[in-house]
């Protein structure tokens, strides 16, 4: 039997204790730790990497990590089939990942939010047309879409960016439309209309600030997803082309050596998985952070 005076599991004390354990300077520790290496390597790669990520030297082909026999501490994650330092190539890959994720998620967010707000706010025919376009988009398999774009543009950064944007924008459109429908009925939007406030101002001052939390949470979650998609597109050969480095490319190249040099695809795969995990955890944390029902204290 439970005692009646036992504090509930979500008591303020317990929640405060949990927050002290999981946050540092108001930021969640684990997601930040998982994301920080990617962001730092992406921004400062050339100052960090110990070797030229493109520097081929056949003398040190397939060097294992130093804790294995034959390893060399100068190449702490080993080398690939051309003798290039894997650690440096991972850092170079972080730059591509960072560019792809930030650009594609931002552009998709802008397009999707604009479409969602217009559809939700104006309703009627505009809503119907925009949402049918979203439905059509949703019915095309993303992989097929990517292959089509790849066929048209050839492989490369542009293909990755366009593919991810085309895959992601509709998610924003749906979510934001729903939120806008709810916001449109709030007292302050109605009052703004009565006060002759222009649609532009209603969008910018009433809708956007109140949609921002949702949008930011979705962006964080999609940041993680975009990493995985970027890796997948590169893996099937439509993304970043060798000799450049990208995490998906390392996995694709390395898989033929899996039995002899497992370190080539493994570390790149880990980088993808952990960074995506970090982004997803951050998204969850942000969702709770912005939820007024879970507001602090």
């Amino acid at each position: 039997m439970t005692t009646t005076d036992a504090p509930p599991l979500t008591s303020p004390t317990l929640r405060r204790a949990k927050r002290r354990l999981t946050t540092l300077f108001g930021l969640p520790i684990i997601p930040v730790l998982l994301l920080a290496p990617m962001v730092i390597c992406g921004l400062f790669g050339p100052w960090i990497w110990p070797h030229d990520p493109l520097g081929i030297s056949f003398g040190i082909r397939l060097l294992p990590p130093p804790w294995l026999e034959g390893g060399n501490w100068s190449y702490i994650l080993g080398t690939d089939q051309f003798g290039r330092d894997l650690f440096s190539r991972l850092i170079e890959g972080a730059r591509i990942a960072l560019i792809v994720s930030t650009v594609s998620v931002s552009v998709a967010a802008v397009i999707g939010t604009a479409v969602g707000m217009m559809a939700g706010y104006y309703g009627g025919v505009i809503d119907m047309i925009l949402m049918r376009i979203v439905d059509v988009k949703m019915s095309i398999p993303p992989v097929l879409l990517t292959i089509l774009i790849g066929a048209a543009l050839g492989g490369g950064l542009a293909t990755i960016l366009i593919s991810i944007i085309l895959v992601f924008w509709a998610d924003y459109a749906r979510v934001i439309r729903g939120e806008t429908l709810a916001l449109k009925r709030t007292g302050y939007v109605q009052l703004a209309k009565v006060a002759n406030v222009s649609d532009r101002r209603i969008f910018l001052r009433h809708l956007l600030p109140n949609l921002a939390p949702t949008c930011i949470v979705l962006m964080t979650l999609q940041f993680g997803a975009s990493l995985v998609i970027e890796a997948a597109i590169t893996f099937i050969g439509l993304g970043i082309q060798p000799p450049a480095s990208a995490w998906g490319l390392l996995v694709a190249d390395g898989r033929t050596y899996l039995s002899t040099a497992w370190w080539i695809p493994t570390f790149a795969g880990l980088a993808i998985a952990l960074t995506a995990l970090g982004a997803n955890l951050l998204g969850d944390w942000l969702r709770d952070y912005f939820d007024p029902k879970l507001k602090k204290r």
Binding site: Q190, L191, A195, N196, V197, R205
Partner: protein, 329 residues
């Protein structure tokens, strides 16, 4: 009688929708507001009462032009405004403003009080920054708040204070008519009196007219100069407040006021028996007089023919067959 400010003629809002399976759909219509005629006079308080769902708030939304009327006219200062667009609509809306029921939903949580109150002024584009700051301080004082509060966010205020902010905003452009949709029913009883006193003071000071919507009969009876009683989209009776409160003629009004709690409840008069049953569905309103299924005086004619308007004392009007019968008899 003072000047006519706002008038509606045969104002109607019908909602059409289809139900049922595709290809076997039947068209349905809800007559939320069904041909109502109202007159709001300058500097006076007009009260619209009725049960929830009777079309009170739809009427307010029609007057605010947040909805297009299906039929009928709205005249402001004698000029039709029900189809106004552009500058004409802007001019109309600077003369009528509104305060909603929910003081929490009325203020954008992501704006400062200054911006909330100044928004109608900003929207006109006619005021400078200093003019706006000056006016915001003036308005905050007018509703008994401190001008220092302009820099705070709405979450820092209580319900009563929020409603004061909403009133200050409504007054920003010196409107002549405020539409008050249940302005105090979301507030604590202790705060209600303060807000009602504030509204009364503002009316004296600024010569405002109020169009007050409420289901609170005592409040309407004490605040209003004129009362209209609405039932299922139609006005069943309207007239001077004292006349309606003290000598209601329509059986619905009688029942409504009899059901309000009084300080010294005595035995109910036979005519003032409480009405039974629920409000019929507006989707399928009763034929003839909408009230006949619940009316203690219902006659055969009530079930067939919509009742006529029967004039009464002091310009009051009640729509009831029973009244014509008694006149004829």
């Amino acid at each position: 009688m003072s000047d006519l400010l706002l008038e509606t003629r045969n104002l109607s809002k019908h909602f059409f929708f289809r139900k049922g399976l595709p290809f076997a759909r039947s068209k349905s219509v809800i007559r939320s507001v069904d041909g109502i005629n109202l007159q709001v006079r300058a500097g006076q308080t007009f009260g619209l009462v009725g049960e929830s769902g009777c079309g009170k708030s739809t009427t307010a939304r029609l007057l605010l032009r947040l909805m297009e009327p299906t039929e009928g006219e709205i005249l402001f200062d004698g000029a039709p405004v029900h189809q106004a667009t552009g500058p004409a609509l802007n001019a109309y809306r600077s003369n009528i403003q509104t305060v909603f029921q929910d003081p929490y939903g009325s203020l954008n949580p992501r704006m400062k009080v200054r911006e909330i109150i100044a928004e109608p002024m900003i929207a006109t584009g006619r005021f400078s920054r200093t003019q706006i700051d000056h006016r915001v301080a003036e308005l905050l004082e007018l509703v008994n708040l401190s001008p220092r509060m302009a820099q705070q966010g709405p979450h820092e205020f209580s319900g009563g204070q929020r409603q004061r902010i909403a009133i200050a905003r409504a007054l920003a452009l010196n409107p002549r008519l405020l539409i008050l949709d249940e302005p105090v029913s979301a507030l604590d009883v202790s705060v209600r009196a303060q807000i009602l006193n504030l509204l009364a003071d503002l009316q004296d000071e600024l010569g405002l007219a109020y169009f007050m919507i409420s289901h609170h009969l005592e409040l309407v009876a004490s605040m209003c100069d004129w009362i209209a009683v609405m039932y299922l989209g139609r006005i069943v009776e309207q007239g001077p407040a004292r006349q309606i409160a003290d000598n209601p003629r329509h059986p619905y009004t009688k029942a409504l006021f009899a059901s309000a709690l009084t300080v010294n409840p005595g035995p109910l008069k036979t005519e003032q028996r409480k009405i039974e049953g629920e409000v019929p569905s507006p989707l399928n309103p009763p034929k003839g007089c909408h009230f006949h299924p619940r009316c203690p005086l219902a006659m055969d004619v009530c079930r067939q023919v919509a009742p006529p308007s029967v004039p009464g004392p002091d310009g009051s009007v009640a729509t009831c067959h029973a009244l014509t019968q008694s006149v004829a008899a």
